[in-house]
Amino acid sequence: MNDTAVLSPTLSPSTHEFSEVIHRLEAGGSMLPDTPENLKQIIGIYKAYAVPMDFYWRDLLYIAEKVFLNPLPAFKYFISDKYLDRPNAYAGDGADLRIWRGEADAHPELRDFMAKGEFNRKLPKLFHHLWHDRVNMEFAEACMEAMLWHEDINPQFNAYLDGDEYKQNSDLAIRAYFKGNPLMLGLYKLFPDMFLEQVKKLSYYANLGLFWEVMAPVFFEMSDLYDEGKMTTVPEAMDFLVNGIFAVAGRPIFHHAYIDGKCYEIIPKSQGFTWLYEAALPYVEAVFYRTAPFRGTKSYNAQAGQVPSDQKDFHYGILYADVFPVGSAGIPPTLLMQDMLHFLPDYLIEDYQQHGRGEDDILIQLGITFQRSMYNVTSAVIQALRAALLYPLDDPNPDHLKANRQFFEQQIDRFKRPEARLRDVQDQSYR
């Protein structure tokens, strides 16, 4: 694609360090170069991501709504059949808005894996669980915790969580949940804030669950379109995401708990929280950009200023991550890569076998692919924000184009940090 041809003649070339990327964005492209290899990689990984995500969102909602405040939640990952069958609001015939043409209940590959695991043998659920031969729900919880912890990025949502109305709603739910349990009720009397804090966390479970309920069908549909030959370039993949973001932007974010068959509206839909503002944007900021350093991957010396004192300056997310330590036991990136490994499309497996150490470092290879794909998702978010808050790319007004340029440069400034991988993903040899 010839970037300069689309550039308005009234705007001089960008002098930004990543001017190439800026020009590409201004031409409606992605931060990721438009190559067939990149397209294959990101679509393949979206599909591999969507299957465990189909479990993540179901289980997140199951925990937020059903497990609730169970003090010994040993079986919180043993999702009920009802939640496995729960129709996704964006797939199937009864969808609010049908994004994926597939079915609304749990993905068949997911069901198959849940039954047999890596062993490929039907064994008791408990055995698969203890052997860790299952979907690594811990990754989803790590994402949720990142959103919970970086509280400054979701001001309206958090203001509500700190308000009296939320307190009253949770109080009702807590009392109902522990009805007939004098021990827990007594504890609640002694430490009400502790319980409230737990409910807040559960509200973030719901938040993230509702967010991912959208993303899973989006990724499935992209994979299907690619397989059908209808998605042929990286910008097309990005535009699909942009349209998806707009289409579901107004989806309500809420938290309902079901206790004894009764629904407790802890965050009612009427509060007006939306998917875009209270879930998607905070998620991107918390998980793609910030998160927190993972234990066991690197030592940081806080006294030497190696960990920023301000949470805003945290940059440990997937866009910055050193993917090489993937494989170290128990860290969230390993958990996710392990989950995606089970659902890779054949064309990606073949691709990986021909590079690096083949099967041996496949987790890192797919981790880097995942990093690429998330640069594309972030590009979609940047373009969506540009469309929502600024001007069309072909706007005739040079001031508007200048504003767009400024916005893009501001966004890309965040990747000037040495640990950012924007420069790496420009090159196919980074794998």
Partner: protein, 502 residues
């Protein structure tokens, strides 16, 4: 029985070198491995035949050769020789296994290694001083070739330096041997006869000094060590394993067998200086190792330090320290071979040995995790962490020598502390930290490449947990060696020697 150990490798070597049909590198390697495997099995058989209660030489094999020169083919075995033979057989196999199949002139390479192995085995078994000297000198040429043809940077310089030093050592040793025979009016160079020679103490001291310098170059001890770092570093990993693991032992073996064995009175006189010399070597080797930036050079300097413990044990010549010294020779051989092998793998995969470039090799998927783990293990073994063979042998040496030379022993103990320092530096820089995303596309370490290290590591752990399997072989020999030396000091042993009940 014993001749097999000498002649099988040499015949194998000649076969590889001269069979008229074409041999690929892989075939020569396999053939050499089969030969050395048979030798290894033969060595194991030797262990089953070895009489533990007999403190004299066993399994004599004698054949007149040039009786008028006093040179006869005379082999025999005691506990000291047995340990050295075992080390030689094992490390030859390891060295062959860890060689890369793709090299120039592979047939010549494998022939030379087998030849060295056979020659060294002969030297360890020789009961005739001239025979020993012959075999000692003869391995020089193949080693010179091994370093100068298949070495790394500066190989010619290193090989020449090695040749010059070792040749000088040979001259000194020969002088001492001839002096002993002529001054003692011996017609024969057989070891047993030499033991009978009765010389005045000053003469003994001179002859012993010649031997000490000669073998001191071979070990090497400071200040005769300067050939070592160059040669070890320039040599390919397989050759470095042989050089550090086996050849260096020829030096300490020679000092114990001929120096201590033939001149016990002089030995007793010189022993305080020997202990100081040993401590100086230990400290010098360790401190210099800390300053190195090249991991192979670091390991090479560590070898100087660790051979110092052997000398300390010999200088103290208590029964315990003697067993410790002999066992330390074995454990040093195992650990050094392990280290050189691992460093070789790291260099082959990463392409550098520089501490400031190595990083993050512990990375589970893109690094060399098994190699890194073994490197940590061997560093621990070398630093004398309990539970590993290095601890046992060093502890035996210190326990045995403390009562005799407390100050020197304590200095050597400081040396083990310094060992921990440089190995922590090595391991920290090499294994830990962040793997460089741009550069770290290293090849995979195959199981084949790990086998030698796994074998050695297993021995290091097993012998560390069950030291009796190592020490009891040389107990009787140590006892008889020590008994020959007049006691000039009261020996105090804090604990009973552990090797009596097996």
């Amino acid at each position: 029985m014993l001749s097999t150990l000498v002649w099988l490798p040499i015949i194998g070597s000649l076969l590889i070198a001269f069979v008229p049909f074409k041999l690929t590198a892989q075939q020569s390697r396999t053939f050499a491995l089969v030969i050395s495997g048979v030798v290894l099995l033969w060595t194991i058989r030797l262990f089953t035949q070895f009489d533990l209660t007999n403190d004299a030489f066993q399994m004599h094999e004698f054949m007149p050769w040039l009786p008028m020169l006093g040179l006869n083919y005379d082999l025999a075995l005691d506990g000291l020789s047995l340990m050295m033979i075992a080390l030689n057989s094992l490390l030859t196999w390891v060295a062959l296994y860890s060689s890369v199949g793709s090299m120039e002139r592979p047939r010549f390479f494998y022939a030379l290694i087998l030849f060295v192995s056979g020659g060294v085995a002969g030297a360890f078994l020789a009961q005739n001083l001239l025979l020993f000297f012959l075999l000692f000198e003869i391995e020089l040429v193949p080693l010179y070739l091994l370093v100068s043809i298949w070495g790394g940077e500066k190989r010619d310089y290193a090989a020449t330096k090695f040749l010059l030093y070792t040749a000088l050592a040979g001259v000194l040793i020969l002088t001492a041997f001839l002096g002993t025979a002529w001054l003692g009016h011996s017609t024969d160079f057989s070891y047993q006869q030499m033991l009978q020679v009765d010389l005045a103490l000053p003469t003994q001291v001179v002859l012993l000094s010649l031997l000490l310098v000669g073998f001191g170059i071979k070990i090497p001890l400071v200040p005769f060590h300067t050939w070592l770092p160059d040669t070890y570093v320039a040599a390919s990993p397989s050759v470095a394993i042989l050089l550090g693991g086996v050849l260096a032992k020829l030096g300490t073996y020679g000092i114990f067998r001929f120096g201590l064995g033939m001149f016990p009175e002089a030995w007793s006189l010189l022993s305080p200086f020997l202990a100081v010399w040993a401590a100086a070597s230990v400290l010098y080797g360790s401190v210099t190792a800390i300053a190195q930036k090249d991991i192979k050079r670091m390991v090479a300097y560590s070898s100087i330090g660790h051979m110092g413990y052997v000398m300390l044990g010999g200088a103290a010549f208590t029964e315990l320290s003697m067993v410790g010294a002999i066992s330390q020779m074995v454990s040093h051989g195992l650990i050094l071979a392990l280290l050189f092998h691992l460093v070789g793998v790291v260099e082959a995969k990463v392409g550098t040995r520089q501490l400031d470039q190595l990083n993050g090799l512990m990375n589970p998927l893109r690094g060399l995790p098994v190699v890194s783990a073994l490197l940590v293990l061997s560093g621990m073994a070398s630093a004398g962490i309990p539970g590993l063979v290095g601890f046992i042998t060093e502890f035996l040496v210190f326990q045995g020598s403390y009562s005799v030379f407390p100050v020197q022993t304590l200095l050597c103990v400081v040396g083990t502390g310094l060992t921990a320092v440089y190995f922590v530096i090595l391991i920290n820089r090499t294994c830990f930290g962040r793997l460089d995303n741009q550069k770290a596309h290293y090849g995979k370490v195959s199981l084949t490449e790990q086998v030698p290290a796994l074998v050695l590591a297993t021995l290091v752990v097993v012998l560390g947990l069950q030291p009796n399997w190592l020490v009891h072989w040389s107990a009787a020999t140590s006892r008889s060696l020590v008994a020959a030396v007049p006691m000039t000091h009261e020996v105090q042993v804090a604990i009973q020697p552990p090797f009596q009940g097996f």
